[in-house]
């Protein structure tokens, strides 16, 4: 019986665990949060029961059913509050097509070792656990990418994901008058969640212009019709928008947040096709909370620690079986490309099935394979309509904070890049400290890479250093390392 470890229990990981069990594997499903569901099904804890929590979610009944089935299954171990902090690969594991002789004598050698801490978040006395599974499915998801703008570090400015997590996970409203801004269809469910907490949403400001949205979403509409369920979900949000009369403005962006110790207002401006702010269009809007997300950043550290290669877009590269460049390591969900819940479920099912010894040509995968192709097409439309355009740097000022941890501003970064004539990320980090703070460049990494590439002679980075490469995937206490039980 194959022993499959699934890292991350959002939609992709849950689907992978179920498929691996169906295929007969022993499964360990783990998540850093204290319950499964991921950010998509982020929900209230057990001691906050309610009659109708489902009204906050899509697919809630399917989720709770799946959770119950996995929890009751003796051959599926579900580890909650489990943080993977390192993955050690072996040389043999790196080679996808190992020579037959090596395959025969695989044993311990070909296995990847996964180091885990189980216990309360950032706690001191967590239990240490080491696993050596036959196969791994990495389904670590993504987090919001918020592009910096002057004042974004003020209290009261949140990522859209934070507003969503507080609304769904705690029933906390982030403010009374809330601005939602950035790009992408995710802004709509966030606005809907805010309305359900009783906040007034002043407006949803989408940076992409109507023409870009139309050219992304509208061509070949007969293909879009295949994605029926997703279309219904989005239509639901639009109906809710209209009912609550929330203005949805395209081609606009928050270009500045105002306030001293907290946000009190924002400046909204029109932006052109390339997201460059248009002079003279600025207007001030009062708000006590601002929720901004422009894109998503895949959580790659564990996939990279396992040795997985990335594709040109910076996501984990996978084949038809959802297999990565590393033998016996599979990936599914947002780390292989931002595509939403339906795509994550389909990819998770395929990954779990194949990790447990199956193949993408197996008959039982007919439906998930078809779903994957439909929602990949859907994801391409989303990308064409909403992806970050380069002109956004036009709203940066010299004193805009870029690295929030080390408080490195845009002027300092640009000056360092110019002074050293360097397009080496490593040297820029060391000379400015950008990205070296406690978040390890998770928030500013992609932005620093972009600003540096813009400053360089060829518009790209010189070295292949990346923020996503972190030998210790997550900060942990030295004491936890030191209590060696060997």
């Amino acid at each position: 019986m194959a022993d499959v470890l699934v890292i991350g229990a959002g939609p992709a990981g849950l689907a992978a665990a179920r498929a691996a069990r169906t295929q007969g594997a022993l499964v360990t499903l783990l998540d850093a949060a204290d319950d499964v569901g991921g950010q998509y099904w982020r929900h209230l804890p057990d001691n906050r029961s309610s009659e109708r929590e489902r009204v906050l979610h899509h697919g809630w009944a399917a989720f709770t059913e799946l959770r119950r089935a996995l929890d009751r299954d003796d051959h599926c171990r579900v580890l909650r509050s489990a943080q993977v902090w390192a993955i050690e690969e072996t040389d043999a594991a790196r080679r996808k097509e190992a020579p037959p002789a090596q395959q025969a004598s695989e044993g311990e050698l070909r296995r990847t070792t996964v180091h885990i801490l189980v216990g309360p978040a950032d706690g001191a006395a967590r239990e240490r656990l080491t696993l050596k599974p036959d196969a791994i499915v990495v389904a670590t998801g993504a987090h919001d990418r918020t592009l910096p703008f002057p004042g974004w570090e003020l209290p009261g400015v949140f990522t859209a994901g934070a507003a969503q997590a507080l609304a769904k996970g705690e029933r906390v409203a982030v403010g009374e008058r809330v601005v939602v801004a950035g790009a992408g269809p995710f802004l709509l469910p966030v606005a809907a969640s805010l309305v359900q907490t009783g906040s007034a949403v002043v407006g949803v400001y989408e940076a992409s212009r109507s023409r870009t949205l139309a050219s992304g979403w509208l061509p070949r509409p007969w293909l879009l019709a295949r994605a029926g369920k997703k279309g219904v979900e989005l239509a639901g949000y639009v109906v809710r928008q209209v009912r609550h009369r929330i203005p949805y403005r395209t081609g606009t962006a928050v270009v500045r947040a105002h306030g001293t110790d907290r946000v009190t207002a924002v400046t909204i401006a029109s932006v052109d096709e390339q997201w460059r702010p248009v002079r003279g269009t600025e207007r001030r809007v009062a708000a006590d909370a601002v929720c901004v997300s422009h894109a998503f950043t895949p959580r790659l550290e564990l996939a990279l620690a396992a040795g997985c290669e990335l594709d040109d877009a910076g996501f984990v590269a996978v084949d038809a079986d959802q297999r990565t460049s590393v033998r016996d390591v599979y990936a599914a969900g947002e780390i292989t490309g931002i595509g939403g819940v339906e795509l994550a479920l389909a990819e998770g099912t395929i990954a779990g099935h194949c990790a447990a010894g199956g193949s993408a040509t197996d008959d039982v995968l007919r439906r998930p394979l078809r779903a994957r192709s439909i929602y990949q097409e859907f994801a391409q439309r989303m990308h064409a309509a909403h992806s970050v355009r380069p002109g956004w740097t036009g709203w940066l000022t010299d004193d805009t904070v870029v690295c929030r941890c080390e408080e490195v501003n845009c002027g300092a970064l640009r000056a360092a890049a110019a002074a050293t004539e360097s397009s080496s990320l490593r040297s820029l980090k060391l000379s400015t400290r950008a990205g070296l703070g406690i978040c390890q460049g998770r928030i500013c990494g992609r932005t620093v890479e972009k600003l540096l590439a813009d400053a360089g002679p060829h518009g790209r980075l010189r070295d292949d250093a990346r923020f996503d490469r972190r030998p210790i995937a997550f900060p942990l206490r030295l004491g936890e390392l030191a209590t060696d039980d060997q």
Binding site: A32, A33, D34, L44, P45, D46, N47, R48, S49, S50, E51, R52, E53, V55, L56, P120, A121, D122, G123, A124, H143, D144, E153, L154, P155, G156, V157, F158, T159, G161, A162, A163, Q164, A165, L166, G169, E170, R171, V172, A173, V174, G175, E176, Q196, T197, G198, D261, R262, D288, A289, R404, C405, E406, E407, G437, I438, C439, R442, I443, P475
Partner: protein, 122 residues
């Protein structure tokens, strides 16, 4: 207005009654609902920010809300750098806010000692 909890009577999910959780924050007792994170309790007790940054002494609270940005870190029961948005409050938790002064410059060994509240190692 600071963030607030949705009043149970107005909540479309029709919540069952929930119990309270009591913690202290910088010595002041605070009450939240069982299952809330420390960030949730801070936010709904009127605090939008609870950390000061090292370089600019700027206020910070919750930003990402999902454990990625580390803006919200606090000291819990003497343990530093706990992400308030990720840690569920337990009854009796002693929470201290963190204001981390910069480490002293090697040429000026006294600067750290004179820094206001430096360390907050509580």
């Amino acid at each position: 207005m600071p963030p607030r909890s949705v009043p149970p009577a107005d909540d479309p999910i029709r919540p069952d009654p929930s119990s309270a959780v009591h913690v202290t924050v910088d010595g002041v007792s605070r009450t939240g609902r069982a299952g809330q994170t420390i960030a949730g309790i801070l936010l709904t007790s009127g605090e939008l920010s609870w950390r000061r940054t090292s370089q600019k002494n700027a206020p910070r609270g919750v930003f990402c809300g999902i454990g990625v940005c580390f803006d919200c870190v606090v000291t819990v029961n003497g343990q530093r750098d706990v992400r308030a948005c990720q840690r569920r409050a337990a009854d009796g938790d002693v929470v201290d806010t963190q204001h981390d002064a910069l480490p002293a410059h090697p040429a000026d060994p006294t600067s750290r000692l004179s820094a206001d509240g430096g360390g907050g190692d509580g």
